[in-house]
Amino acid sequence: MLGKLDWSAIPTDQPIPLYAAGVVMLMMLGVAVIITRKGWWTMLWRDWITTVDHKKIGVMYVMLALVMLMRGFVDALMMRSQQAIAAGSNPGFLPPEHYNQIFSAHGTIMIFFVAMTFMVGLMNFVVPLQIGARDVAFPILNSVSFWMTAAGVLLLNVSLVIGEFARTGWLAYPPLSELAYSPQVGVDYYLWSLQISGVGTLLSGINLTATILKMRTKGMGYMRMPIFCWTALASNLLIIAAFPILTATFAMLLLDRYLGFHFFTNDFGGNAMMYVNLIWAWGHPEVYILILPAFGVFTEVISTFSGKAIFGYRSMAAATMAICVLSFMVWLHHFFTMGASADVNGFFGVMTMIIAVPTGVKIFNWLFTLYGGTVRFSVPMMWALGFMATFVIGGMTGVLLAIPPVDFITHNSLFLVAHFHNVIIGGVLFGAFAGYNYWFPKAFGFTLDERWGRAVFWCWLIGFYLAFMPLYLLGLMGATRRMQHYAETGWQPLMWVAMSGALFVLAGIACTVIQLVVSIRTRERRRDTTGDPWDGRALEWSTPSPPPEWNFATPVQVVAADHFWRTKREGLPLPGGPDLPAPSNIAMPRPSATGFFTAFFAVGFGFAMVWHIWWMALAAFACIIGVMLKLAWRAEDETIVPASDVAAWYRANRKEAA
């Protein structure tokens, strides 16, 4: 009846996950009580859960990413503590079977559910506003995408208390991840949670690509798009091209595990290196899926806070698209050490280094944007400057790793770990925080506190250097990644320095929460009444903050790049500005519960598959089809906002502006 599931699935012998789960459940209960007390359930259902508004969906993505950042960081803190302790004969406090789950979960969560989710959230929120669109191309699909991501998150976190998570590392290389070596459910949790969220990501990629290609407002030619839209386009094209590879690869591993196939097994002619090739054919584009939107954020921020147009716009756009194409030609550098011929290794080494050219171009263009500008050190700008100084170090170590014989002595070492944290924290995460501080007032109508924002920045910056510079050195001293313990007591002092860096980051996360709470409590005096708190350049700043559901009452006619900036300077009528738009009826998509229910049943499906509860899997899958059919047969999909309501909205929200 319940497949492999029984009471032994609850890890009663492991106090840490049980306590963690207990705390999470208490917090969720507390939130539920507050919502009930305040009578917010209806509002929550109507305005958030069933919303198809790209802005709210973007906000929910970012909230999900921030919550998962905390989960992923707790894992990081445990890993750093374990490695700080477990030197010589000391086994530390985490046995291998638990420690191995922690680093696997840390990587999976941070890439898929923090970095990825954060970037998709920012793109969702910003792109339609920047191109003058009322929403994304497929608003209901957008809601499905978000909820599928949330379903993946939920399934992954269920593994904390029911069963266990993968112990295989975040990419689950076979044969270790095959049934023969990982008979437990951990790998199944990993695979199903990423299959489900992967569908969401792919749909989101299609949606945003279609939005950028087809929904640009009048006059918004490609060469007038803000660079963030270029990077979003490149990133989403990569999602469309790369995520099907991931889904197919995982599908093959699932066939191996569930139906006795031998794609990647040791026996019957299976070839594990095929998986390694395929996973990196997705995995390398994936890192550019993450970093390109971050480059876009930095471009917007550096341009805005220097009071200048971005230097070398055409080069920026060209470099972005060059990275997009090149990122597919370098995957083999992740396993130079598999014994391929010198020609193969040499080719992929050179291709990898070539990516550094367009990236270098971007760095120079940001530099020349600063030059001659009027630089304001607001919080988003501090993240951008911290990024420029930090990212080039990660770029340098990346090129080092691209030289095959250097990789032979640094592959899989803590040097590599330091490198990818250098580019993912120093690039993607700094970009996420820059974007969060930059667009927050647009989303909520008030700015975030600057002082706490600076504290967040400095904690992360110092924490990053303390945590990862020692890892570069340790890697060169011979320390490899994923060690549960090590004999060399000489490594321990550097491990403690790395631990202190993690504590700085902990302080940074605490400051993030404080910043948010302080900003909400003092929101009345930090209201953004103009819609343009930073003296911005692109169209999103021409709308009130927060923008109305329909973003733009009348379509904007764009005549140049940085259109909004020029209209401000040349005193032209502002698009969506204080002059009331001519009221007209606006057709908006109706809210839909399709996404929520699809995800609800997808969690049931994934859980049933993990535990081999076949009847439940079948039922849940049938329900997903049912939800889709119900959507297909809907009678109405739009509501009309009458012109009078539109006019009334602007009257009410313009009072302060005028």
Binding site: P96, M338, I403, I409
Partner: protein, 271 residues
């Protein structure tokens, strides 16, 4: 000599490791010549052009300069051309499968064949020519080129002795080749650098490079006193678990080939 931090890759003890470490230093210095100025310019530009600086000359409309486009594309391109050449040439010069010559102190030493098998969670070293085998320690004659053939009887691992240089994967059903050399007698820690499951952290071994007479003595001692390694005792050894260093006399000379073939049975791999 025990300078803190100078260990592993930073303390090379063979030609492969020494060349790779030299390459790492050369490439690092080349790139530092670009990125240090970039970091300084970032901070300097941002500070000089701060909003409050009255002395800074503002150029709010300066957003394109053809000559600078040459710089923005040219500088990274030149650096990468140089490093790309370095990468291509070194990939060939330091190809793991490329033979390494003997050390000048033992100029006529022929490459010593050693077969390496990763097990759950220990390393098995087979000396097919000498009729011995060892677990979790690798005794080699200093100065001789070592020709390692690697495979795995279990999941993937990576054989790595940081002080001797290049690591390489051991994969079931496949054999990889790696040439290394230890120049002087000494003990060099080795690890698995590819996560392989619960006992991964204990997959440690020491490479004991010894002078030729000591090596011969070890061979003789092991042949005489080592436990017998045949298919039956191999099966016991291959069971998951960690192990202290052990020596065997090899009773099954084809052991490596059996292990290599076992993982592809019953249908053979197309490779």
């Amino acid at each position: 000599m025990n300078v803190p931090f100078i260990s592993g890759v930073l303390d090379p003890r063979g030609p492969v490791a020494a060349n790779e470490y030299q390459l790492l230093q050369n490439a690092t210095l080349t790139m530092l010549a670009v990125i240090v100025p970039v970091i300084i310019m970032t901070l300097a530009f941002a500070w000089w052009f701060r909003a409050g600086n009255k002395k800074a000359k503002r150029r709010p409309d300066w957003d394109y300069a053809g000559s600078l486009e040459v710089v923005t594309w040219g500088v990274p391109l030149l650096v990468i051309l140089f490093l790309g050449g370095m990468g291509w040439l070194s990939a060939h010069a330091l190809d793991p499968a490329k033979p390494v010559p003997a050390h000048a102190s033992t100029p006529n030493a022929a490459p010593l064949d050693i077969q390496v098998v990763s097990l759950d969670w220990k390393w098995l070293f087979i000396y097919p020519g000498a009729g011995v085998a060892a677990v979790n320690h690798l005794v080699v004659p200093a100065g001789h080129p070592l020709r390692l053939h690697l495979t795995s009887a279990t999941v993937m691992n990576s054989f790595f002795v940081p002080q001797l240089g290049s690591q390489i994967y051991s994969m079931a059903g496949m054999a990889t080749t790696l040439y290394l050399r230890a120049d002087q007698p000494g003990t060099f820690p080795g690890i698995s650098a590819q996560f392989s499951g619960d006992g991964f952290s204990d997959m440690r071994f020491d490479v004991e490079a010894v002078a030729a007479p000591a090596y011969d003595a070890w061979l003789a001692r092991t042949r005489a006193n080592g436990a017998r390694l045949d298919m039956a005792s191999y099966a016991a050894l291959a069971k998951p678990g960690t192990s202290a260093p052990r020596d065997f006399h090899l009773a099954e000379p084809q052991l490596f080939d059996h292990i290599l073939a076992a993982s592809t049975a019953p249908s053979s791999s197309p490779h």
